[in-house]
């Protein structure tokens, strides 16, 4: 069982959250300019690293807000939690650290 720290509600059980996939996938500036291949890339292709991964989570049973988490996909360690307004953290920087 994983404990995630909501930026607004504090530590809550994993079961209160919903997973939202990879974070920082920007919507294309001009979708109509994209080829089918580029559009498919945007819609369906995601990174699948072994290690730190920035992903979106929603505190669906709590405050219902979306936020970002950097989680190690191999160890499940939560390395960073940050809101959409926060800059993307540099994982492994001394300012970050594990939680």
């Amino acid at each position: 069982m994983m404990l995630l720290t909501c930026p607004w509600c504090g530590p809550r059980d994993e079961t209160e959250y919903h997973y939202g996939g990879q974070a920082h996938v920007a919507y294309p500036e001009n979708p109509s300019d994209l080829s089918d291949e580029e559009w498919a890339e945007y819609l369906f292709f995601r990174d699948n690293p072994k290690g730190p991964f920035a992903e979106r989570w929603s505190h669906s049973a709590g405050c219902r807000r979306w936020f970002n988490v950097v989680r190690d996909t191999a160890t499940y360690e939560v390395l960073e939690v940050y809101t959409n307004a926060d800059p993307r953290p540099v994982v492994g920087s001394p300012a970050g650290g594990s939680r």
């Binding site: 909501c6 607004w8 509600c9 504090g10 809550r12 059980d13 079961t15 209160e16 669906s60 049973a61 709590g62 405050c63 219902r64 807000r65």
Partner: protein
């Protein structure tokens, strides 16, 4: 509206008798009851806006600014649901309260909605109330982490609801109306063991 008010049925009307009959008495007592037709109003507003100030003026209290916090004044309690979302629970009639609150946000980027029929209020009270909740709630309900005057959105038996502790042995649960019967029956089932006179050799809980 008067004739409609007379026709309405609370979500747990059909269970009222079961709730009374299954109250657990004695040392490990616990009972469930329904607070019917409580006025509830959803507020969505930027807490730093003039509209928020006006809402606070009508409610006579501040909008709480952090998770778990509840503010109260007179007939109204305001529960924090999110950084720009609150639930007003009131003993005042919705007909009187909602227009006064709506007037505060006229023209503003904000919403005031009467959600009285969205949820019902269950009261769980008694020496075993905490032990009953701990069977199905992922939240840390130990007194060092959660206490009277706090309310949070969480789950009980996998049902999303607002859990509001009002006293050392007393909680209010606010599930959506369609989940209310399930929650009430789950609570009765979870309370059943405390009606037993069997003691486990004096081991403390």
């Amino acid at each position: 509206m008067a004739e409609l008010t007379m026709m309405r049925r609370s979500p747990l009307a059909a269970l009222a008798r079961d709730l009374m009959d299954n109250a657990v008495t004695g040392e490990r007592n616990v009972r469930v009851s329904e607070w019917r037709f409580t006025t509830m109003v959803s507020l969505r507003v930027d807490p730093t806006s003039a509209a928020a100030d006006a809402l606070e003026g009508v409610l006579g209290t501040t909008l709480p600014r952090s998770s778990g916090e509840v503010t109260s004044h007179g007939q109204h309690s305001v529960l924090w649901l999110g950084p720009d979302e609150w639930l007003v629970v009131s003993q005042m009639s919705a007909d009187a309260l909602v227009p006064a609150l709506q007037e505060c946000v006229a023209g503003a980027h904000a919403a005031v909605v009467d959600v009285s029929a969205n949820r019902t209020v269950l009261e769980l009270r008694g020496a075993s109330a905490l032990a009953v909740l701990q069977k199905g709630c992922p939240l840390d309900l130990h007194p060092r982490a959660f206490g009277p005057g706090q309310a949070v959105s969480t789950t009980l038996a996998r049902i999303p609801l607002v859990l509001w502790q009002v006293g050392p042995d007393s909680y209010r649960l606010l599930p959506r109306a369609s989940f209310a019967e399930y929650v009430a029956r789950w609570l009765l089932d979870a309370s059943l063991e405390f009606a037993s006179t069997f003691r486990d050799g004096g081991r403390s809980e």
